[in-house]
Subunit: 191 residues, 2 copies
């Protein structure tokens, strides 16, 4: 029961911050959507800011884990699985964009605690991609290369592609950008 | 004299929005930094929002014009000049990031007027890159290719690279991402 109230707060906070940004997030709306009173909230979190940081960290980490640990657990076909995940537009909300990018853009420059949290999430995202590339190299699906730098480039290009689609309101911009990224990666493929 | 007051408001508004986002921008601070009274402001702009939209549009368009029209006016060496501009980190503020990306991330989803303005600015940025690529192809510096799609990919990768550096606080992330982008573009070069 306690976990349920906490999870309701986490989910409502994440949705509010994802939709409106942290500065635009209204605590009253979060509490209303969670169906939780302010007094109960303070049982779990010291402040709106603490609740937002926990919600962002937990929700994004969980999503990345679900998305990428599956690929890392494969026996083979790492690069193919990564390309499939990149091209899967059904799981993406182009209207709201990427939550990591949104919150980093808004807050990294303004608040040291947000800065630290977003830095860790960004590095976690990159590490998943690097680990997948390392598996692909190890399995001889891909030529040996600087996988750290390539992971940096892939995450940057993906974030930029999502932003393109958000800025122009055209999901095709994401698809076209990722097609070029795929072309670039296929040049390193051994298959 | 009238132009000067207007320009002071434009510059102070742009700096405030660039540093704090639109939702975090305080009109009192803008007026203080511009050294302009609220009454004078309403002589030029109907609202804080109108002033912000004009400031964003004017300042970003001017900067893009200064940066890219110079390259378009060259007689040759278009691709080289584009790569040099991309690699020039002195003109970039990685702490605050890219103003187009920041404002699009924050506002495109929340307000139709911001959505329109950021869409036009994003498309203008892409058009400059496409026109430079077209010049490079015309001058036979580059192989014929889908320059529209490539311009989309270049702007996405650049925006993503700037965000990387902002999120991790490490300008080297931008440099490394752009190095891979350069490698990719050089594969199309005839020189």
């Amino acid at each position: 029961m306690k976990e349920t109230t906490r999870q309701k707060l986490i989910d409502a906070t994440f949705e509010e911050v994802y939709s409106h940004g942290y500065q635009g997030a209204a605590l009253a709306d979060i509490l209303k959507n969670a169906g939780v009173h302010k007094g109960s909230m303070y049982h779990y979190f010291g402040s709106k800011k603490e609740m937002a940081l926990v919600a962002i960290q937990e929700r994004i980490s969980t999503r990345n884990f679900e998305k990428y640990s599956k690929i890392l657990a494969l026996e083979s076909g790492y690069l193919r699985a990564l390309l499939t995940a990149m091209k899967d537009t059904k799981q993406r909300d182009f209207k709201r964009g990427c939550p990591i990018a949104n919150i980093a853009q808004e807050m990294s420059n303004l608040d040291e605690d947000f800065n630290k949290t977003m830095k860790l999430l960004y590095e976690e995202f990159r590490r998943y991609i690097k680990n997948i590339l390392d598996k692909a190299v190890e399995a001889k699906e891909m030529q040996a290369c600087d996988t750290k730098k390539m992971a940096l480039f892939i995450t940057a290009a993906l974030e930029g592609a999502i932003l393109s689609a958000k800025a122009t309101g055209n999901a095709q911009d994401y698809i076209d950008s990722v097609e070029i990224l795929e072309e670039y990666l296929r040049a390193f493929s051994n298959n």
